[in-house]
């Protein structure tokens, strides 16, 4: 029996990829560790190595084929002592190239269906993909371009670096590697290694260095590879950056941006999946921003870099590759501290931020199918919190459900509930409900992860409950 080589999944969210190049040909003998092919995903070109020994009997997917499904058989290897030509003859014929934008070009493998990882993270991404946000606030007639969140963030940094010589970017793998998640792609090339700086793995050190440089008059953008690692450095974010202006009686400023991905990614387990929004939002002296769409990511990151205060800018890895409409304007800057109504509705207000907005929008669509007209608010900034927008909506709908990809206890949702109690009590027709992740460290197992993360179904249920339906 020849061994089937299958299209590998190179990340838990990858569904298909391009077979860019074969580095072996039929008849070649290979051993484990030999590089067989190069495979492109949306993020990178990866090498595909042999695990089994034998002879390449048949290449089933020619190089240059796009949209090859994960798990599809791409070649056959005849094991030692097996006749390669016989093995090839026994194989299914190579698929004829199909026209673009059609169902899979490559037949699914006969043995072992490609495994779709049914995880909570995949569901979150699906919610985002299913929904659209209303146009960002731009003058009528503005040209829009589709951009990923990743590109929007990069452009924001590049634009600010072009206009302000004091801005520099520092962090692990931000320069030569182009960013662990490719957010700083191209910055080294354009701005050089004086302004785009790879650090050793030493978060406490470079966060402090950044804060000091900001005190001295520069405008650092400090990237944490993920915010999980910022816990090494949280002392500088809070004790050094957040309190300086106050402690110095307004004399010494610390205009710095700490940015990076925050929140759960896919299957990375308990130490790599936390939402620090509520942590930082609890600290006076900090600005905390957590955008959802690419347009907001761009406009708010530009604002953050210009801001004279220390900013914690929370991105989301699962959103990086997602595209949104971004206005094509020379200088698209958004106000800090302003939430946005991303969907108007009359019956219930869903308040969220970051990837939770996708979940809320998804829930709103489902609710519409059941005759409930939900309004969705994207907070965008977590501190200072735009209470006015929330309270105004509450006045209209009289019902509120908070949606958050994060733990429930002492969360942004908890804060929103308190705001509604203190300042919107008379408008409430039902208790405010919180729909969040489960109150446990994030488990690795796919089924448990799915159970642990916030879900659109639960938002629908909560909305119905507050509408007494």
């Amino acid at each position: 029996m020849p061994v089937e080589l299958k299209m590998p999944a190179l990340s838990p969210t990858m569904e298909e990829g391009t077979l860019a190049k074969w580095l072996v040909k039929e008849g070649d003998t290979v051993k484990s560790g030999d590089i067989l092919a190069e495979i492109e995903t949306d993020k990178a070109t990866m090498e595909f190595e042999a695990v089994d020994e034998g002879t390449i009997a048949k290449i089933l997917v020619p190089e240059g084929t796009d949209e090859v499904k994960v798990g599809a058989v791409i070649a056959l290897i005849a094991a030692e002592g097996e006749d390669a030509s016989a093995a090839a003859a026994a194989s299914p014929p190579a698929p004829a190239p199909a026209p673009a934008a059609e169902a899979p070009k490559v037949p699914a493998p006969e043995s072992g269906e490609p495994k779709q990882m049914e995880t909570g993270a995949r569901d979150l991404v699906a919610s985002v993909a299913r929904t659209e946000v209303a146009d960002p606030e731009v003058p009528a007639g503005t040209e829009m371009v589709k951009q990923t969140v990743r590109e929007a963030l990069r452009d924001a940094m590049a634009e600010e670096m072009r206009t302000d010589e004091r801005v520099f970017v520092m962090g692990e793998e931000v320069a030569e590697y182009q960013g662990a998640y490719k957010v700083t792609q191209g910055l080294l090339e354009e701005f050089g290694d004086r302004r785009v700086i790879d650090t050793p793995i030493t978060e406490y050190g470079f966060a402090g260095l950044g804060a000091g440089a900001a005190m001295g008059g520069l405008k650092p953008v400090i990237e944490f590879m993920t915010f999980n690692f910022a816990m090494q450095a949280i002392d500088h974010v809070i004790n050094s950056a957040a309190k300086t202006n106050y402690m110095s009686g307004g004399q010494m400023r610390c205009p710095i941006v700490f940015r990076g991905p925050n929140g759960a990614a896919a299957r990375v387990g308990a130490q790599h999946s936390q939402n620090y929004g509520p942590w930082y939002a609890a600290v006076p002296g900090l600005i905390v921003i957590a955008p959802y769409s690419a347009a907001d990511a761009k406009g708010l990151l530009k604002a953050a870099i210009r801001c004279e205060d220390p900013v914690v800018f929370l991105e989301n890895e699962l959103l990086y590759g997602h595209s949104f409409e971004v206005p094509k304007l020379d200088d698209y800057v958004l106000p800090i501290g302003k939430a946005r109504v991303v969907r108007e509705g009359r019956d219930v207000t869903l308040v969220s931020y970051s990837i939770g907005v996708g979940v809320a929008l998804d829930a709103a669509e489902r609710l519409a199918g059941e005759g409930i007209d939900a309004e969705v608010i994207d907070l965008r900034t977590l501190r200072p919190l735009d209470k006015d927008t929330v309270l105004k909506s509450l006045k209209k709908t009289n019902r509120m459900v908070c949606v958050e990809e994060g733990w429930p206890v002492c969360s942004i949702s908890s804060e929103l509930a308190a705001v509604a109690m203190e300042e919107g009590f008379d408008d409430l027709d039902a208790p405010v409900l919180r729909v969040t992740d489960e109150d446990v460290p994030l488990p690795y197992a796919a089924n448990l992860e799915k159970l642990a993360l916030v879900k659109a179904e639960d938002v629908v249920e909560a909305a119905k409950k507050v509408c007494y339906r």
Binding site: S11, P200, P443, L448, L451
Partner: protein, 361 residues
């Protein structure tokens, strides 16, 4: 300024007389461990190391494959290329008495401590039968029974934690030592040096092991380290350091003996820098464009620890058939582990809420 200049001119207090160039280096003012010798293994011993290294290699290759099939998710860091380090070092330890701790690249260290490949693989696939009941994943595996303490995802954390394990050994007087592994990249975290200071100050029984595979993700050692001879990183804390060829299991074992003797006899910590290399990307999603294919191939061709041991075994009289049989057995063990890991059920939904706290309140 003036003060700085004058103090610079003055001879530092207690400084030795000016040295003439070329003179013998000053005699060290404190005891140092002896220069390690390559371990003279018996045929059976070497065969045993060979089997262990091969098991790690085949296990990791299979894990990479299962990742590609979507059975393993998230971050998965393979140990391929570095096998001689864990096997050589841990062969000098006593399982269940001496503690081992490492980072997220942990599968090899577990296998080298005799932990069942099945429960490791089942953890990688996130199943109930996994060693962390599917809740930890590739980066978070533990076996208190073996005194294998993880499995940590935060770069550098295991160094302070390992120092705590050593503290426990000393506190309890149980005769055990701790071994804390960390990478060349982790060697730049501040807590490493905070730990070094305490360990030497309190003469804690710990072997610090820097697995210098020359890259931290995409950053090579010389781009991240002012002192790139990492074995010297403990010297200012008076921790002796030794550089070791981490691609030669017997050189590693030789150094392990020196380190274990030193630490067990109460002389305090020691630092080993193992020069090694990872063949694969940092994790499954790293395209590894920061190094050339030729660089990787050259190491595979010239310095592979398993090939190396195989040749040596042949020279010691191991037959082709004997080695082939080991290959077959190893493959079989790994195939069984993979099948087990694929078939084992996922954890029960109720597991979501267990193990958050020990007590109920």
């Amino acid at each position: 300024m003036a003060r700085a200049a004058s103090s610079k001119g003055a001879a530092p207090r207690g400084a030795a007389k000016k040295q003439t160039p070329g003179a013998a280096p000053p005699a060290p003012n404190r005891e140092r461990p002896p220069e390690p010798k390559r371990y003279k293994a018996t045929r059976d011993e070497l065969l045993d190391y060979y089997k262990q290294m091969l098991l790690i290699r085949r296990f990791e290759e299979r894990a990479g494959q299962l990742y590609g099939l979507g059975l393993i998710g998230g971050f998965c860091h393979l140990y391929i290329g570095q096998e001689a380090v864990a096997v050589g070092l841990q062969s000098a330890l006593e399982v269940g008495k001496d503690s081992v701790i490492t980072g997220y690249r942990d599968h090899g260290h577990m296998l080298a401590y005799g932990i069942d490949p099945k429960v490791i693989m089942a953890e990688l696939t996130g199943r109930e039968a996994g060693i962390s009941r599917g809740k930890g994943g590739s980066m978070h595996m533990f076996s208190v029974e073996h005194r294998f303490y993880g499995g940590h995802g935060i770069v550098g954390a295991q160094v302070a934690l390992g120092t705590g394990l050593a503290f426990k050994h000393k506190y309890a007087g149980d005769g055990g030592v701790a071994m804390a592994y960390f990478g060349d990249g982790a060697a730049n975290q501040g807590q490493v040096y905070e730990s070094f200071n305490m360990a030497e100050l309190w003469k804690l029984p710990i072997i610090y092991v820097i697995e210098n595979n020359q890259y931290a993700m995409g950053t090579s050692v010389n781009r991240s380290s002012a002192e790139d001879q990492l074995y010297r990183r403990g010297e200012s804390f008076r921790i002796p350091g030794i550089q070791v060829d981490g691609m030669d299991v017997l050189a590693v074992r030789g150094a392990a003996n020196v380190a274990v003797d030193w630490v067990r006899s109460g002389k305090g910590p020691i630092l080993l820098e193992l020069k090694t290399y990872r063949y694969r990307g940092h994790s499954m999603s790293d395209p590894a464009k920061y190094r050339s294919r030729e660089e990787v191939q050259a190491v595979r061709d010239k310095s592979d620890p398993i090939e190396h041991a195989r040749k040596e075994l042949e020279a010691m009289g191991a037959t082709e058939d004997e080695l082939k049989a080991i290959d077959q057995q190893t493959k079989q063990v790994v195939v069984e582990a993979a099948d087990f890991a694929e078939q084992a059920p996922e954890p029960d939904a109720s597991e979501l809420y267990t193990d958050v706290l020990v007590g109920s309140y």
